[in-house]
């Protein structure tokens, strides 16, 4: 009770501080000899209030204070402490409070760490950022207050959705938010720099750190979500092209492109329009994702509650930001004379431009696939859903030239270049084509496209692998990220090609046997935990090579709320995952058993970690 009151009032105080900050920024901007110390103090104050509010919510969750509506809706006394805490951001209200917390932390760090930039720019960035922060404050207090009071106080809460009770998911939202919110700093600072016409090399060097930070977190956030989907949703896939996954992929694509443009801009004053538009796009796409997910237009596990009022607020706010940034872009930005048209065709600049256009293509495919069903529904009230084949068909062919460009591009020099060691490059190409042909030959599916796809990924793989050992090649960060990407594509391709699946219904004691695999359903155990009952099935699986595995998938029947989830049992080895999941067949003693062998699963996760590691290296690197 006391915590709810504290939390609520410190939110209101935080909003007031935000308004004061806007006032100080305007005053300071007019007379900007030095940064008003009040800006720093008040930013700290704002951070403090939001932190108090956030901690109050966590405490309310820990002590199961059911007079708080959010706690009542999302917690339960029998839940383990860990999930009580993670439940704080496992719901709409709490996750927005977390978002606000990250926003205030980031702007505070921004003020502290930005030293060699014009004062006006700093003030203006704070101003723009405060507009966003105030928007979120209003949103939180108006439509999704986490501290609503319930009377009479219920004895027991409704519980957290069991599929969200998972360690990966406890840290997935905070990490993803760090990425999303980092993009808000990029957004405000790009707007500030455009207004002051200082989009330049020195600005690029300064903002690059922020781009890298949000990029790393966004990459890891997406990875965690994907890992969670893999073992918890029980479908055995890692990416479903679900709209909710897509809305996190879109900012990532925009941010990756932005990162590459920044790399150019920190050397030469070109591509400025690209940089500004991408900075705006990254943040608006993140916001757009929030809108789509939270408004209930898209239905998914991420949809916490369908409240049109919330959707309307985000929609108006989002478009206000879009129009503001469009206005600033068209009004203040002047493209410089030495424009992108006069690059020499074989140079690093051109290759980055090529990368940009490919990325924009991928982005539009994902965007259209996600948003088009909504448009079609509104315009012609037809319901369609866009599935994986759409994305695969549109993306896979374009990956081929993209991968080749990724292999060749970084080897080029700035301004003007010619390819050295052509023989080496061509011989590697031939080797990759041959290897991939031998791999694909044994499978009578689509030999041509698979061979080319695998060989292009292999090509990138070999070239980046060799560059690790080559002395004259210094860009370790870039090489790691590109190597990781080639590994990712290879793992995904092999995973698709070589996966096998058995679906069958079995009773205890029964055996399924085809020529390759033998599945023995040995026994069933029951277990009772604090917040769920579980049925554990024991399987013994023998494959054609005689290797024996015991796997024990589980069905959990949660008490609050009463939902059954299936926990897959996965045996991960270096080269392949064995994945088994069971489901109840109603009113029968049969279980529906799904067994999959998925090669290279581990490598998909590892390669994404490697990609973000590349970002981390670049972040830690001192500029040479």
């Amino acid at each position: 009770m006391i915590y709810s009151v504290t939390g609520h009032y410190s939110l209101i105080l935080g909003l007031c501080v935000g308004l004061a900050l806007v006032y100080f920024s305007i005053r300071n901007f007019r007379n900007s000899n030095q940064l008003d110390t009040k800006i720093l103090t008040f930013s700290f104050l704002q951070l403090f209030f939001v932190l108090v509010s956030f901690i109050s919510l966590i405490i309310s969750f820990i002590i199961s204070d059911f007079s708080n509506e959010t706690v009542f809706n999302n917690s339960h006394t029998t839940k383990p402490l860990f999930y009580k805490i993670s439940g704080t951001w496992g719901n709409h209200e709490g996750s927005l409070l977390l978002w606000l917390l990250v926003l205030t932390i980031f702007i505070f760090i921004f003020i502290l760490r930005t030293n060699n930039q014009p004062i006006k720019y700093k003030i203006l960035t704070v101003g723009f950022q405060q507009v966003i922060i105030i928007g979120f404050f209003l949103f939180l207090i108006q439509t999704s207050n986490p501290f609503n009071y319930l009377f009479p106080v219920p004895d027991e809460g409704l519980g957290l959705n069991p599929i969200l009770q998972d360690p990966a998911l406890a840290i997935h939202p905070p990490i993803l938010y760090l990425g999303y919110v980092g993009s808000s700093i990029i957004f405000s600072s790009a707007l500030a720099a455009t207004t002051l016409k200082i989009v330049s090399t020195s600005w690029a060097i300064h903002i690059k750190k922020w781009v890298l930070i949000s990029w790393i977190f966004l990459t890891l956030g997406i990875l965690l979500g994907s890992i969670w989907a893999y073992y918890e949703l029980g479908w055995g896939g890692f990416w479903f092209w679900d709209p909710v996954e897509n809305v996190s992929l879109m900012p990532w694509l925009a941010l990756t492109t932005l990162l590459h443009c920044i790399l150019v801009l920190e050397r030469k004053e070109i591509l400025t329009s690209w940089v500004i538009i991408l900075s705006i796009a990254t943040f608006t796409l993140s916001m757009c994702g929030t809108f789509l997910v939270r408004s209930g237009i898209l239905n998914s596990v991420h949809t916490f509650a369908n409240d049109p009022e919330r959707g309307l607020f985000i929609l108006v706010f989002l478009f206000a930001l879009i129009f503001l940034s469009l206005f600033i872009f068209f009004f203040f930005h002047q493209t410089s004379k030495n424009n992108s048209s006069n690059f020499f065709w074989l140079s690093k600049e051109t290759s980055i431009l090529v990368n940009n256009w490919f990325m924009m293509y991928f982005l539009s495919v994902v965007l259209i696939g996600t948003v088009y069903p909504i448009f079609l529904d509104v315009i012609s009230s037809q319901k369609i859903s866009v599935g994986p084949p759409f994305y695969h068909k549109l993306i896979a062919p374009f990956l081929i030239p993209f991968l080749f460009a990724m292999a060749i591009g970084p080897r080029l020099k700035w301004i003007r270049s010619d390819l050295k060691d052509k023989i080496y490059l061509i011989s590697l190409l031939i080797i990759s084509i041959l290897i991939s042909f031998f791999i694909v030959k044994n499978f009578n599916t689509n030999i041509l496209i698979n061979t080319i796809l695998i060989s292009s990924a292999l090509y990138l793989f070999f070239i980046t692998l060799r560059d690790f050992f080559s002395k004259k090649y210094k860009n370790f960060a870039q090489n790691t990220a590109h190597f990781g990407f080639s590994l990712l594509i290879l793992s995904i391709l092999f995973n698709n090609l070589f996966s096998s699946e058995i679906i069958t219904n079995l009773k205890v004691g029964e055996t399924y046997d085809n020529s390759k695999t033998k599945i023995v359903f040995e026994s069933i155990n029951q277990k009772k935990e604090k917040n769920y009952k579980s049925i554990i099935a024991n399987f013994n699986i023998t494959n054609s090579e005689g290797i024996n595995n015991n796997l024990s998938p589980e069905l959990r029947i949660y008490n609050q709320p009463n939902i059954t989830t299936s926990e897959a049992d996965i045996k991960t080895t270096l080269m392949k995952d064995k994945f088994i999941v069971i489901n109840l067949v109603q009113n029968q003693d049969y279980f529906n058993v799904r067994y999959q062998v998925k090669p290279f699963m581990l490598w998909i996760w590892l390669s994404v970690i490697m990609i973000s590691l590349g970002g981390l290296v670049s972040f830690l690197q001192k500029r040479i």
Binding site: F291, S295, G296, I297, N299, N306, P308, G311, L312, L315, F319, I322, F323, L326, F330, I374, F375, D377, V378, I379, S381, K383, I384, S385, I503, T504, N505, N583, V585, Q586, Q588, Y590
Partner: protein
Amino acid sequence: MKKKLIPYSIILIFLIIFAVFYKSLKDTNIYTPETKINNDIPIFSAELLLSNENSNSTEIFELDKFYLLNIWASWCVPCRDEHPILMSLSKNNKLIIIGMNYKDNKKNAKKFLDELGNPYEKIIVDKNGTNSIEWGAFGVPETFIIYNNKIIKKYIGPLNNELLIEIQKIIK
């Protein structure tokens, strides 16, 4: 003038996007049966599941009788939920139930019917899902009521007791 064209058109595009999102917020996203019912059923020929014979639409659907076409699959969990309702409908002799087995494995499909019972008079095999698309299905399960070669009603998602009563009213 030409310079201003780009900003204005971009702003216009965003305004349209805003309008679309705004409208979709107001719409509910509960699936409603399509309004374009009363369409003729598609003409097709396909394999039948249990007899392994081929058959076509004119053989299966005769005039002046009520048919219920149910699209199902053994892997589809909601299909299991609605199965008892189909079983109870199959006892009604005014209605002939036809199944369409969507993207399924024959062995699993037969096992499904062995477990839960077979309410279907005939089962059309739709191995690659094209037949279901011609019927205008969005997914499984889906149910169509057919009379005189016309689709008179369509239900998306599993049947429930309310819909059971509704169907019984229609065939009366």
